[in-house]
Symmetry: none
Subunit: 159 residues, 2 copies
C-alpha cells in the first residue's frame, strides 16, 4: 500500500515525542523521504505531513507561477519558512515543534488522519468535530448526487 489511509490517536510522552503510526511509517519508508515533512495547514487547525509525494505536490503548485512573480515569492516563502523537516528516531517517533503544536492546539495527544498521498495531524477533539462535520457534508453531497453514489465517506466507522 502506498497511500495513507485510516486514522489513529496516539499520546505524546513526557519528552514531547509521538510515534508515527506504523502503517504510515511503512508508506513513508516506501516513499523514500528521510524524515517527516510537516507544515501548518493554511485553512484549518491541523498539520499537513508526508514525504516526497507531498513535496512534489508543493513544487508543482509553486511552479504554476512565473519565476520572480510576487505570488510565487509569497507562496514559496510561506510554505518553505513554515515547514519543518522533523527527524524520526529509531522507534519511528517525532517531536513537534512549538509553532506546529500551537497552530493545531496540540497538548498531550494527536490524531493522525490519512489523506492518501499525505496525512494530517490534529488535536484529537478537534479532529472528531472536523470528522463529524465533514461526514455530514459528504452525506448531504451524496444525497444530492442521488443514485450515482459517487462519493463514499472518507473514513470508516472506527474511532
Amino acid at each position: 500500500m502506498d497511500r495513507f489511509v485510516s486514522h489513529y490517536t496516539l499520546r505524546l510522552d513526557a519528552k514531547g515525542r509521538v510515534s508515527i503510526p506504523a502503517p504510515f511509517r511503512a508508506v513513508l519508508a516506501r516513499d523514500g523521504f528521510d524524515g517527516l515533512y510537516c507544515y501548518p495547514a493554511l485553512d484549518r487547525p491541523a498539520l499537513d505531513a508526508g514525504g516526497n509525494a507531498l513535496l512534489k505536490e508543493i513544487e508543482t503548485l509553486i511552479a504554476r507561477f512565473a519565476p520572480y512573480s510576487e505570488e510565487r515569492e509569497q507562496f514559496s516563502a510561506t510554505l518553505y519558512s513554515t515547514s519543518e523537516i522533523l527527524k524520526v528516531d529509531g522507534e519511528g517517533r517525532v517531536v513537534l515543534t512549538e509553532p506546529l503544536k500551537s497552530h493545531a492546539g496540540i497538548a498531550d495527544a494527536v490524531a493522525f488522519a490519512g489523506h492518501g498521498h499525505k496525512f494530517q495531524i490534529w488535536e484529537p477533539g478537534r479532529f472528531r468535530a472536523e470528522l463529524a462535520e465533514a461526514t455530514e457534508k459528504v452525506r448531504a453531497l451524496k444525497k444530492r448526487l442521488g443514485t450515482q453514489g459517487a462519493a463514499e465517506g472518507p473514513h470508516g466507522a472506527r474511532e
Copy 2:
C-alpha cells in the same frame, strides 16, 4: 536535504555575532560556498543570504538584460555593490555589517527564514508580520485556485 526549510530565531551576542542555524549550515556546506553571501533584499526590510545556488540565481537574473544595457549595469551595480561575503567562524557564526543590520532593522535578535535555494534574515517582529501577511495572501490565492478546479491546493480537497 539540499534546501533551506523552516525558520529559526537566534540572538546576537555582545560582540554582534549570531549562529547560523545548524540545518542551514549543513545546506551551505553541501553547496560548497566558503562564507555567507548576503545582501539587502530589494523590496523588503530583510537580507537575502545563501551560497553558490543564490549566486547562480543572481547571475541568471542579470543575464536577462542585454549586455551593456542601462538596466543591466544598474542591476549588477546595485546587487553586487551592496553584497557582502560574511566570514563564518569556527562555531558557525557571522557578524552582520552595519548597513545590513540597518536595512533590516536588526538589533539584538534575528529570524532566519528558509526559502528553498536561499534564506532570508529578518528582525523577528517584522518577520512575524510579514509571514502573517504572506500567509493571508496565499490563503486567498489558494481559495481562488480552488474554485477553478484546475488544481487542488496542497492542503486537502475538502472545503
